[in-house]
């Protein structure tokens, strides 16, 4: 690597970005591949329900199915936008 390249570099190297993105997408594809057949459809429907209440980007929602011994654990992770009012209150209990 040239020292000039090094001095001039400001951004994160693109290879590191590529690796991060691949790690995330491969993990997601593995959970689709190894999970039960209904998982993709269930994920879609869960996302639909969530987006009825809060405005949230698709990539802020993670659905993971983990196995722990005999137990299967469905993990739903939603990063809610900060300081924003929910879209509707009507459906809340």
């Amino acid at each position: 690597m040239s020292i000039l390249d090094y001095l001039l570099r400001r951004q994160k190297r693109s290879a590191a970005v590529a690796k991060d993105r691949l790690q995330i997408i491969l993990a997601r594809e593995h959970s689709d591949r190894d999970g039960p057949d209904y998982l993709p459809a269930m994920k879609r429907e869960l996302l639909e329900v969530v987006s009825r209440y809060v405005e949230v980007d698709l990539d802020k929602i993670q659905v993971n199915l983990d196995r722990d011994g005999d137990c299967e654990i469905l993990e739903l992770n939603i990063m809610l936008p900060e300081g924003e009012e929910p879209i509707k209150h009507a459906a809340a209990q």
């Binding site: 690597m1 040239s2 020292i3 000039l4 390249d5 570099r9 190297r13 693109s14 290879a15 590191a16 590529a18 690796k19 993105r21 691949l22 790690q23 997408i25 491969l26 594809e29 593995h30 591949r33």
Partner: protein, 270 residues
Amino acid sequence: MAKVIVVTSGKGGVGKTTTCANIATGLAQREKKTVVIDFDIGLRNLDLVMGCERRVVYDFVNVLQGEASLKQALIRDKRSDNLYVLPASQTRDKDALTQEGVGKVLDELKESFDFIVCDSPAGIERGAVMALYYADEAVVVTNPEVSSVRDSDRILGILAAKSRRAEQGEEEPIKEHLLITRYSPRRVSIGEMLSISDVQELLGIPLIGVIPESESVLQASNSGIPVIHNEKSISGQAYTDVVARFLGENKPMRFVDEEKKSLLSRLFGT
């Protein structure tokens, strides 16, 4: 016992056909009776890379459909006695291959060869599955680049689910090898290209070799003489090492680090 090796990748243009030609040639150089089969029905190319395109009379589909015997269809390589090519058909579509038919041809080949190398078409559909179905070992060809890594990962999923060994379950699963091709140590060192360890970590299978990006590969396919015949080429030498590792020898990785440069060129990156 004859071994069936599939060279696969998901993505097209990553170096499968090049790798097939070179691994098959390398095995033959090591006195192994080897046949290399083109499964890329409709897009035959292996014959060109192997330099036997003008000697194709019958093809794989002719054999499957009983229009020619294996003996008639196999083309003997001009440069090595132990090497034969079974070309793909150019006119038929990939549905001409059936699992049962392919199985029969492979069984017949197993009687007289040590290694059967299968050149897979791109994709993850029928044609690619046909090429990997009977494999004992798989060489997964990957370029250090996002879409190639992702497609290789998908092919690994298919090897683990749709191959004969996976379906039958009682045998060992297919032995998988990662081959990184078109690698550029310089671009890795400046952070523009995924490194060997990045790709290995992402795909999680053992590395059998790294083939550097080199002009000699293009020259080799231009002339129809696989680059492994060119002892001066670093890619040719890297393929020779891959074959040696395949046969169980321990060879350190070569051509994976950037060449040492003078202070001036380090400063200015020339």
